[in-house]
Symmetry: C2
Subunit: 349 residues, 2 copies
Amino acid sequence: MSDNLVIAIDAMGGDNSPRVVIEGLVEASHKNPDVRFLLFGDESKVKPLLNKYPRLKDKCELRHSPEVVHNEDKPSQVIRNRNTSMAMAIDAVRRGEAKAIVSAGNTGALMAISKLSLKTIQKIHRPAIVSIMPHINGRYVMLDLGANTECDAINLAEFALMGNIVAKHALGIERPRVGLLNIGSEDMKGKDEIKQAAQIIKNSHMNIDFVGFVEPHDLPNGKADVVVSDGFTGNIALKSIEGTAKLIMTMIKKSVKSSLLALLALPLLVGVKVKLKKRMDPRLYNGAMFIGLNGLSVKSHGGTDAVGYAVAVGNAIKLVRQDFVATIRDELEHVDLDELSQEIIYDAY
Amino acid sequence: MSDNLVIAIDAMGGDNSPRVVIEGLVEASHKNPDVRFLLFGDESKVKPLLNKYPRLKDKCELRHSPEVVHNEDKPSQVIRNRNTSMAMAIDAVRRGEAKAIVSAGNTGALMAISKLSLKTIQKIHRPAIVSIMPHINGRYVMLDLGANTECDAINLAEFALMGNIVAKHALGIERPRVGLLNIGSEDMKGKDEIKQAAQIIKNSHMNIDFVGFVEPHDLPNGKADVVVSDGFTGNIALKSIEGTAKLIMTMIKKSVKSSLLALLALPLLVGVKVKLKKRMDPRLYNGAMFIGLNGLSVKSHGGTDAVGYAVAVGNAIKLVRQDFVATIRDELEHVDLDELSQEIIYDAY
């Protein structure tokens, strides 16, 4: 399988695995016919499904894994177990057999095993969780969404560098505008590490279009293509956005249902519904990418369907096509963030 | 004016002052006929307006202030100026002439002058900014929304105590459910100060219905009546919520406008629109309250109208009616958060 781009697949993770995984791969493979998949899972369950899709089967190699990481398992319990489909799939990336691993399984375990097995890229201190989000005219990249509760200025600068590359490769934006998430756009606002990160990014030789601080209400307007924060802040913003979107949609549905006139209007609104769904469909934004490691680890939502799973796999493919890990290494050759940060922090006193 | 409840008013702050201020007071006074207002502003501008509303005029005392804090003024530039309508109104609270001050002016200046002039309540270390927010079945209290970028466990516990009182008085909830905003509901999730705050609240003799950690996507479901966080996190969540609500409404409008069928449906949707507006109207959630000081300082949105301004004044009145400051002092008599926090932090090692 060495000539083609290979993605390792944990076929057992997720609510309806391995069915949704295989159906998702059918779609992903259709869009990316030159990609091969290395599947890990219970042979007795996965093989019959693969047999239903002979074209996909040609692109796959299935390896039996005797165990499965369950959603209830604590990361600490499963991190040393090498016999799970998840661990075996990650190990395929470590050994260089695959460039990325996709799993719809236990998030904490996927993070823990990925970190332990793949290790961070040289010169990168911390991995980050990245997602792609919708804004009014397009999409943006957001990180970190929860890998690191606390971050220093160097971590944030590294996230900016990595997020810039994700936006280029996954969104196809030639020169992404990169912003730091903050509670004000003025220079003196926010936490010290954010202010220092701004200095580091400005003074580094990173080739980044840095647009300064962005506030959460700027995100829906597309003010930045890459939004950088620590994992606690990013997770808070992400869950606030998701919760609010759900609340409003529920309120609208409730109001429509309680009005006879509005119910009469429903058939006329089909077009609006289709359009909104196209833009807001969470399946189209599926896949949290775990970056900064020697290999890409992608977490698909556990409850997604084939369409969502294919989106997660598709994003992984886009990033590895341009050899994401090597690109990060190249960019870091030109800059020494550690040295730069020491200068800037000394300057502040 | 000593027999009645008195609210000090900065008549000059806000985009359309003093007109909106006076119109808002007409409404607030109508709902609270026993409240009196002590107005500070440019006499030549405020007096003619008051003359238009003789009933309100009877409830007001107007004092001339020669200067105004502008929106562009930096807090550091105006903090020592005692001749502005804002500073004079705050000073009325300091001297005990009024129990609360309402201003639609420069937020940073209002905070800075309020802090300097009113000082924190004894035993309270930090003031907090509170707002009232909508959830699917009602409203909740959220704090801190930006007064303190970084908070320790004691600050958070104090916010919980104060937020509990706000929910009781402003929302009329007998036993508010109080939660700490976090990125997970499990005990081990999040930052150290949040975990320690949970311990302090549980072990204190604060009479609080503590529901543990709440995540941002729980807020729209009304999982807690009081949501506590540091000011950075709270501000990020607030602006994420506001930005997303705006994005979705814009997307819906855009989709409706681009569909002829949907345009035909519009008349049938008037009822839905009215209902949504009633629940989501930002004017109904106007007024960020600055609490923890010896006196209440309320910031009305600068661009609101009379309805919004009246809401801000109404919230202030509800809190001071039950002598908010004295209630906080009473509750703190039973607990020594400092001592408690030392025990808990020692226990952790």
